[in-house]
């Protein structure tokens, strides 16, 4: 096969990079394929040298762009023994195990390549992907290779593991879901076998065998019920007990009572030889209840709802000490330390700029995507990301005491959110339990007077048949279905309980930047002297060299097809670009680049200077999200709406029509101010939803009853919240809120249905005529019909409400 390598500039036709699929502005050729940058090409070279090109067969252009390569020195902190000990899951002399979180993992090619990691580093003994969690588990031989080499290798092929401060504080999570799986497995096994053994009884076949088997079958059922009673059902006893200790009657109380009575009465009946008991109903009940619990527990694996600043902050930072660069864990950073921050690195603590051109991207913090310029001596708050050349800073506050991070020292983060409203199920189960006990004791007393032999029978029968299985299942299934439907519509809810909370809210608080506004802007206008075709051609040629979103927008605005050759092109990150075209010196960029004097305004401006003469600027107004007016107007009659912004109040007038009065809009809000504002609203008895996006909203999101974080890309960033909403569905918000209210109505109806079943059963029970057969029929029918009703109605309502 012939190889050629060449660099040409031919920007008129769109050529896609073979590796990452981006448009190739500069084309590099290798092996008959075209690449957009040296990074993408070198990944291909590495893979092809190791015979791993199948990577490109499973998906087209599966790679991530390599235009911003990561410096190998960025991972020196991984050589630190302490860091390693915290990151590794297991380690001995022969084997080390580690789990990486890899955000760039997105397709089947990624899985294929990552699982063939051993081809690139033979010391890797196992590489296993969990795609939904975006995790890669690697086992390797620590004697021959190390963590840093592994991470460097992964980064070099475009799969940089995200290692954050949070990973160092790994708390061992007890695997609740596995325990539930065991419980369901055991309950299902016992339920099925008990049903089988009980068949002769159901059909009255025992009379044929003259009762030879009924005694044996009774004992078999008892043995099979033991694991259900002792293992599968134990959580219900625990929950009921802990509720009672707090003087709180939950739905678990009648459930636990029913299970207990059913089991003891059955044991008594079998041992005394009176019958074969209710073991089938008992096992079935527990099985269905556990299925409901499992349905409720299923959440969105890919999303994390519990992130705090530690998930974004780096593990280590480069500190300058005696003119030597050493890597220091971020937590050990002291006031007065001098740190170096390279391109794309995060500033971990509030510091003062000592050296270099700081152009800091605070999009994580505020949602504002345009980098902010800082001059030497200025204070830079933690959480910003440096874009451009290396800068030097002096730390002036500890990491946990910085302007942003001190937010997490607030009490709101210390305790679990206790401001939640009691759920409908909780309210009902209190009255249900009281009514149930009255009926049980009432019928016992009645029979004690008229026919004492039936008294205990009626008492236990009431508790058995009224065991609120269907009642307990309707909430999890209705809310769980609603959660799945909304999740399919990019509105990801943390847990089913949140759906119900959402329906009770009466106040909406919006953040502005990044929430009501969107970072990508569309309308462009040019202000200044009118551009000639020739000038437009010059500008288009220069901007087409850059991948900056603003450049791309200007290029499409200019509509120039014939581009000229560009020489001496330099891009100054965060400022703009300079180039020479046809002997014209061209500068395109911010006011800092062209030294223009700019009045404070909303819009983003890109200035153009040709041969030292300022021609004017392209202006892109800060764009509000699509359908913002519709969303706010549709919600206005139902919810009280507030605005909280960290920015100054220059947009006050344009937003006033939506928020009705100026008193509802608050500007210049620090992160802690936002938190306090929410708490004030709550003190007034309001049920608050906070809708925000950046880390500066984290306090408000946490303290509000419901926090909704809006994100452009769910794979990237969202602070801890109850709901993660994809920004593209912002205009659907009124529909979703309405749907949550409808779901609650479905629960109400299904509660009525399950109560009807209970009344039917009770009518048998109080008469003392409840046979195990009726219970065995009624219990599954009521459970299955309630499950079917709630899931189907919820899905239909979603469809009617315009949610797919």
């Amino acid at each position: 096969m012939k190889r050629k390598m060449a660099t040409t500039t031919k920007p008129t036709t769109v050529v896609k990079c073979f590796h990452c699929g981006d448009e190739c502005i500069t084309q590099l050729h290798y092996d008959d394929h075209t690449f957009c940058c040296v990074g993408c090409k070198s990944v291909y070279e590495l893979l092809s040298a190791n015979n791993l090109c199948s990577y490109y067969n499973y998906e087209t252009a599966p790679g991530a762009t390599q235009r911003n390569p990561i410096l190998p020195s960025a991972f020196t902190y991984l050589d630190d023994e302490k860091v390693q000990a915290q990151l590794l899951n297991y380690r001995d002399a022969q084997i080390a195990k580690v789990t990486f979180f890899i955000p760039t993992m997105h397709c089947s090619s990624c899985i294929w390549l990552l699982e063939h990691l051993y081809k690139l580093n033979p010391q890797v003994t196992l590489a296993k992907v969990n795609f939904l969690k975006k995790e890669l588990q690697v086992n390797y031989n620590p004697a021959q290779t190390n963590l840093r080499q592994l991470v460097t290798l992964l980064s070099s092929i475009g799969y940089e593991p995200a290692i954050s401060l949070n990973d160092l504080e790994k708390t061992v999570k007890k695997d609740e879901s596995r325990r539930l799986s065991y419980q369901i497995g055991v309950a299902g096994f016992c339920f099925g076998n008990i049903m089988l053994i009980s068949f002769p009884e159901y059909f009255g076949l025992d009379s044929f065998t003259q009762g030879t088997f009924s005694k044996l079958f009774g004992y078999i059922n008892m043995v099979l019920s033991l694991p259900v009673f002792l293992f599968s059902a134990q959580d219900y006893f625990r929950a009921a007990w802990s509720g009672l200790k707090k003087r709180f009657i939950s739905i678990d109380v009648p459930l636990a009572l029913g299970i207990l009575v059913m089991f003891t009465r059955s044991v008594y009946e079998v041992i005394s030889g009176n019958g074969i008991g209710w073991f089938d109903t008992h096992a079935g009940l527990v099985f269905f209840l556990l299925i409901g619990k499992w349905f409720q527990q299923k959440t969105f694996d890919t999303l994390s709802f519990e992130r705090d600043y530690k998930s974004y902050f780096p593990v280590a930072v480069t500190v300058l000490k005696d003119n030597e660069e050493i890597t220091v864990p971020v937590t050990a950073l002291a006031i007065g330390d001098r740190i170096t921050i390279r391109n794309n690195e995060l500033i971990p603590a509030d510091s003062i700029l000592l050296n270099g051109n700081a152009s800091v991207d605070f999009s994580f913090v505020t949602g504002e995507s345009e980098p902010v310029q800082k001059v030497i001596g200025e204070m830079i708050y933690a959480g910003g990301r440096q874009k451009g050349a290396t800068i030097e800073l002096e730390v002036c506050k500890k990491v946990s005491q910085s302007y942003l991070t001190q937010l997490w020292n607030n009490d709101a983060f210390a305790k679990e959110n206790s401001s939640h409203i009691q759920s409908f199920q909780q309210t009902v189960s209190k009255y249900f339990t009281i009514a149930l006990l009255i009926i049980a004791f009432g019928s016992a007393a009645w029979w004690f007077i008229f026919n004492p032999s039936l008294s205990l029978n009626a008492f236990t029968a009431v508790l058995i048949i009224a065991c609120p299985c269907a009642l307990a299942l309707s909430s999890p299934f209705a809310l769980g279905t609603a959660m799945r439907i909304l999740g399919g519509n990019k509105f990801y809810i943390k847990s089913p309980a949140v759906v119900e909370q959402l329906a009770h809210m009466d106040t909406l608080v919006f953040d502005k930047t990044g929430t009501l506004t969107q970072p990508s802007v569309s309308d462009i206008t040019f202000y200044g002297q009118e551009l000639t075709i020739c000038q437009k051609q010059l500008i288009a040629s220069v901007v087409s060299q850059s991948i900056h979103p603003l450049s791309q927008k200007i290029k499409s605005y200019l509509h120039i097809n014939k581009l000229l050759d560009v020489v001496a092109f330099t891009e100054i990150t965060g400022k703009g670009m300079e180039a020479v075209v046809n002997n014209h010196q061209i500068q395109i960029g911010s006011k800092y680049l062209v030294q223009a004097i700019e009045m404070n305004n909303l819009a983003t401006r890109v200035y153009v200077k040709i041969d030292g003469q300022l021609l004017g600027f392209f202006e892109m107004p800060q764009a509000y999200r699509n359908g913002l007016a519709n969303v706010l107007n549709a919600l206005a009659p139902i919810y009280q709406q507030y605005l909280l912004s960290g920015d100054n109040d220059k947009e006050k007038q344009s937003l006033l029509p939506y928020f009705k009065q100026a008193a509802n809009m608050h500007f210049n809000q620090a992160p802690t101010d936002k938190l306090k504002f929410i708490q004030i609203l709550q003190k007034q008895g309001k049920k608050v939803v906070m809708i925000g996006d950046g880390l500066n909203d984290a306090g408000a999101l946490k303290s509000a009853q419901i926090g909704i974080s809006v994100t452009e890309n769910t794979a990237h960033f969202s602070p801890a919240s109850d709901v993660i909403m994809d920004a593209s569905v912002f205009d659907q918000l009124p529909k979703y809120l309405k749907f949550s209210k409808q779901t609650i109505r479905v629960i109400h109806i299904s509660f009525v249905i399950s109560l009807i079943y209970n009344i039917i059963g009770l009518s048998f029970a109080v008469k003392g005529t409840l046979s195990p057969l009726i219970a065995a029929v009624l219990m599954p029918i009521s459970s299955v019909s309630v499950i079917a009703f709630t899931t189907i109605t919820t899905a239909l309502l979603a469809k009617k409400g315009g949610i797919q």
């Binding site: 015979n51 067969n57 899985i111 795609f131 939904l132 969690k133 596995r178 099925g192 076998n193």
Partner: protein, 72 residues
């Protein structure tokens, strides 16, 4: 009818076998990830090229023929 006792015993042994298999599968983590295996199964087996180590670099690095993989 006494054959029933044996049959019941057999059926339980079988059923317990399945229960143990289920518990084992949960324990070994088969239920932890219900998506990735569905992708993994579609991958072709990795064909190691028959390239002795002492061959010149140019031959060894030959790109595999694209047609031999049927990606989907």
């Amino acid at each position: 009818m006494s054959v029933m006792f044996i049959l019941i015993g057999c059926s339980f042994l079988l059923a317990i076998g399945f229960l143990i298999a289920f518990i084992w599968s949960v324990k070994s983590g088969q239920m932890d990830d219900d998506y990735t295996p569905s992708v993994r199964i579609l991958f072709d087996d990795f064909n190691e090229p028959i390239a002795p180590k002492n061959l010149p670099q140019e031959v060894k690095n030959n790109k595999p023929n694209k047609n031999q993989y049927h990606a989907n």
